[in-house]
């Protein structure tokens, strides 16, 4: 049987990560007072340690949905955030396509 692509043991962490784009208090909280945000979502000490380390492998090993790694990276890594966006040169060619 195929391994589920998301693991039930990590749902509380998935909930935290998938809130980032919708709830500014989660996004800001993770940047300014992460421990309080970990409390809010009920992360264990071992789970907090993975996020404190910032190590992608350690965070992945918690069993989070892989796509939610991107929410975390986009929040915490400005270089990646700037890279994963429509290039201004292409944006100019899209002028008038968006509203």
């Amino acid at each position: 049987m195929a391994k589920p692509i998301t693991e039930p043991r990590a749902f509380h962490i998935n909930r935290m990560l998938q809130s980032i784009p919708h709830d500014p208090t989660v996004a800001m909280g993770l940047l300014t007072d992460p421990e309080a945000t970990y409390d809010r979502f009920g992360l264990s000490e071992a789970e907090r340690a993975a996020f404190r380390s910032g190590d992608a492998g350690a965070i992945r090993a918690l069993g989070i949905h892989p796509h939610l790694m991107m929410s975390w990276t986009l929040l915490t890594n400005e270089r990646v955030r700037n890279f994963l966006a429509i290039d201004p040169v292409h944006g100019a060619r899209l002028a008038g396509k968006g509203k």
Partner: protein, 270 residues
Amino acid sequence: MGKIVGGFATSHVLFSRTGHEKQADAVFDGMEEIGRRIDALSPDIVVIVSNDHMLNFNTQFQAPFVVGIGARYTAFGDLGIPNDYSIAGEPDFAQGFIEHANARDYDLGVVREPRPDHGMAIPSLFASPRGARPIVPLYTNVDMRPVPSTRRCYRLGQLLADYVETGRPADERVVVLGAGGLSHWIGVEQQGEVNEAYDRWLLERFEVGDVEALTSLTIEEIEAAAGNGGVELINWIIMLGALGGAKAHTIYYEPMTGWWTGMAGIAVDA
């Protein structure tokens, strides 16, 4: 009766050009070419088959197929897409399709006010300039098992064609655009890899209209060869079903490790 006048598929990301300008521009040119070809077909409606990326549907809720029934959609605004990019919807077409499919043993979910992320909005920027041409979003679940099978996706595309041909007003012109893929790995160790050989094999299957090979692929096989992101191939297969398995022409292909994705686009003649 309505008519499907064209089918296309394209990858659905655009990132920074820095460090790989030539490839990035080739991809953008390819997307623009698809936009021009869609314009030339003068469609009344574009059905866009794509998937969300944990913004509208996440680990709280996933459904195999979900149709947008809104009169208007406003982009979520990820990846630098303007968050006031507003696209016309087509509720009547969407509702009719859901009923047509239901009568043929396919039960589709509905969503009224999704905020399309890049998966739906990037193809829309080319298919519906300024959001003026109505789109019907058809979302697939590629994120949580079970993912619908390739065969089931192809059959849904056939049902879409049947609906257009038998259930829509005379002279209505419809384009189907599949979005996503090709090979890419997201949030896993292999992130950044591209399987160029597999991408090119897939493109050849579309070029020769090898429906049997494409609909024999299991989701596990696709994920092993093309990554968890590569499962978006099912969006292309729904489009192919709607076009009756006709042969495709490759518009662009760039194995862009710099964008962590095999970037590709095809056109299928109706």
